[in-house]
């Protein structure tokens, strides 16, 4: 038996006459992109909340966009990603006065997919580290209160509020993660494991999955070649693209320099009985002249030829 629930997180860049653009450039490009993913056998589709109105505009509604996905062999839209990387006076999860705004934003997002069977509302639970620091118990408690509230709302719409932690975010160490999950309600707040983000932060994603298995609602399967040993996570205003010594943090699965032990993680996932979606993600695939099409194909090759073999060991 092979793992059927592979989904793809939407980061692509396509060549257009106006240069490299996201696939929502027009309907033809979006259709082409979906068909390229379908050719590789992906069955789930994760996207950003800000693409939903664009998909609706191009296809008539989000539902009609999902129907197009289904015509091309996908099961459905599986996850919606939302984030506030930058703290503002309007949106800072560790600042209680911004919570109403973030709650309202989140409610609008889940309402956009009402009637569909989207499983996860994936969020970055904090802003960038340098804007949250110093990290205190009180700030984590305030942050947890927000996401408990949002999670209770989203689960009522059928979506699990799934917290996705960045290496440059305000919650990044095992101790901070433990406190956050202690303060959040397991009925409403779930854990979303991004393999590269944790690895860059010096935290083993396999250990985190073991620790939070019961609260894990999904994964971003991506790799990295670099552990942040120089505190690049503190880089203002952005550590992902502006770190002094690292121009590309994220890589597709299957590169020789990759640090994530995907076969072991896969074995653990299969053994654990986890039944969610495994989402392949490539941010930064275009850095250095590479491209998303090839990165996605190489990652799927790795799934078909390495991770499927792990599954066969069950």
């Amino acid at each position: 038996m092979t793992w059927q629930k592979w989904s793809y997180m939407d980061h692509w860049v396509l060549d257009t006459p106006q240069g490299g653009q996201n696939p929502y450039f027009n309907r033809r490009y979006l259709e082409q992109y979906i068909r390229q993913l379908a050719a590789l056998g992906f069955r789930g589709f994760d996207t950003f909340f800000f693409y939903l109105p664009m998909a609706a505009q191009l296809f008539g509604s989000v539902k009609k966009f999902e129907e197009f996905l289904q015509d091309e062999g996908f099961d459905k839209i599986t996850g919606i990603f939302s984030a506030y990387p930058n703290a503002t006076k309007f949106t800072a999860p560790h600042v209680r006065s911004t919570h109403d705004r973030i709650f309202a934003d989140s409610e609008r997002i889940v309402e956009m997919v009402d009637g569909l069977a989207v499983e996860n509302l994936i969020v970055m639970p904090t802003n960038t580290y340098f804007q949250v620091a110093p990290i205190t118990d009180e700030k984590i408690k305030i942050t947890a209160d927000l996401w408990n509230r949002v999670g209770e709302m989203s689960i009522s719409h059928g979506l699990k509020l799934s917290c996705h932690f960045e290496f440059w975010g305000g919650i990044r160490t095992p101790e901070e993660l433990a406190l956050f999950f202690e303060y959040t309600d397991p009925r409403y707040v779930f854990y979303f494991c991004d393999t590269a983000q944790h690895t860059i932060a010096g935290v083993d994603p396999l250990e985190l999955f073991r620790t939070y298995r019961e609260r894990c609602s999904g994964f971003h399967f991506k790799d990295t070649h670099t552990i942040d040993r120089d505190e690049a996570y503190r880089t203002p205003p952005d550590a992902e693209l502006m770190a002094p010594n690292v121009s590309r943090w994220f890589h597709e699965m299957g590169t020789p320099e990759g640090l994530v032990d995907f076969p072991s993680l896969m074995k653990e996932i299969v053994s654990s009985g986890f039944d969610g979606w495994l989402t392949v993600e490539h941010d930064q695939a275009e850095v250095g002249g590479n491209n998303y099409a090839e990165a996605t194909s190489v990652a799927k090759w790795y799934i078909d030829n390495v991770l499927e073999k792990v599954e066969a060991d069950r």
Binding site: R35, A39, G41, T296, S297, W301, D304, N305
Partner: protein, 329 residues
């Protein structure tokens, strides 16, 4: 859809400039891309020199230690074997002293046969059974071919075909849109000059279409000679004599002439594509075609993008379950 088709992909699209497809990592990523898309055989293209290091047997051996080493590399990337190799004897190479060989010139035949021999020795070792050749050069260079020229071309390919069969390889003539053998009458003359037992045809759906020939009708008329297929699409046909312009490779195919068409070859499902791919596949089925269908994204854009779109078309529009044919490892 006939089950006797082996689907493969031509890798020429990756090797678009002198130094962009040289390192092992680049080859590995291309092969894994094709494998993940369900294309588990490939067509190599002959080339020349150190940076065309998948283009000649001796360079492949140098790069991989041995032909067996190359096969291990291919297999490790999920590619089962090489299906075929494209070779244009009229393209000068340093390994032949940059000689400008012409298939219509009998004096060049011994040299061409000698140049073919390393490929014929190599192909069976990598699982390939087709040498896909350009039978004659571009029309603007050769000028009109007379009866003797056709006879000479036929004699040459009969010799190469006979030698290739000794290696378990069939020589197939690939007709392209610039070729001096251009019209249906030309092709009939070529077929008459060659022995069906020794020499077959390769149908390239886009090249024929550009040349004004319907590949479906052509295949139906000549199915008994067709032993290889290149499947690709096009949006354009030659206006009539574009292929006769001096330097047609750039004037026509790179858009240097008044029409300014800078890209001629497209993925199978392109909007407005002139090749009726389903009808062509139905014709293959009708006549029980058995052999390779090599999908080609020839002089397009990003090769991985195009390979994905072509895989999608084969799977979703032609109904071929490409990826389920991936054997367990």
């Amino acid at each position: 859809m006939t089950e006797s088709i082996t689907w493969g992909y031509a890798i020429n699209q990756w090797n678009v400039r002198l130094n962009v497809f040289v390192r092992r990592e680049a080859h590995e990523r291309a092969f894994k891309t094709l494998s993940a898309l369900g294309f588990r055989t490939i067509e190599l293209a002959a080339g020349s020199g150190r940076w065309d290091n998948l283009g000649r047997p001796e360079l492949i051996e140098l790069g991989h230690g041995s032909i067996e080493g190359f096969m291990r590399f291919l297999n490790s990337c999920g590619i089962d074997r090489v299906a075929s190799m494209f070779w244009d004897p009229g393209r000068p190479g340093e390994e032949e002293g940059w000689a400008f060989l012409g298939t219509q010139r009998r004096d060049d035949h011994d040299a061409i046969l000698a140049a073919a021999t390393p490929f014929l020795d190599f192909l069976p070792q990598v699982g390939a059974d087709r040498l896909v050749v350009r039978p004659v050069g571009s029309a603007w260079m050769t000028g009109p071919l007379d009866g003797e020229a056709f006879a000479a071309v036929g004699d040459l390919w009969n010799r190469v075909g006979e030698r290739s069969l000794e290696s378990g390889v069939r020589t197939v003539l690939h007709l392209d849109c610039l070729s001096a053998i251009h019209s249906l009458d030309d092709i009939s003359a070529l077929l008459a000059a060659t022995d069906p037992a020794l020499v077959g045809l390769a149908v390239d759906t886009a090249e024929l279409t550009i040349a004004g020939i319907d590949p479906v009708e052509f295949y139906r008329a000549h199915h008994d000679r067709v032993r290889h297929v290149h499947l690709k699409n096009t949006l354009f046909t030659d206006s009539g004599a574009q292929y006769l312009q001096p330097g047609a490779e750039t004037a026509m195919l790179n858009g240097g002439d008044d029409r300014g068409i800078e890209r001629w070859f497209y993925e199978l499902g392109v909007e407005g594509g002139l090749v009726d791919v389903p009808a062509f596949m139905a014709a293959l089925d009708q006549f029980d075609y058995s052999g390779a269908v090599i999908v080609e994204s020839d002089h397009g854009s990003n090769p991985a993008d195009l390979a994905m779109l072509n895989s999608w078309y084969v799977q979703r529009r032609l109904g071929v379950d490409l990826r389920s044919t991936v054997p367990p490892r």
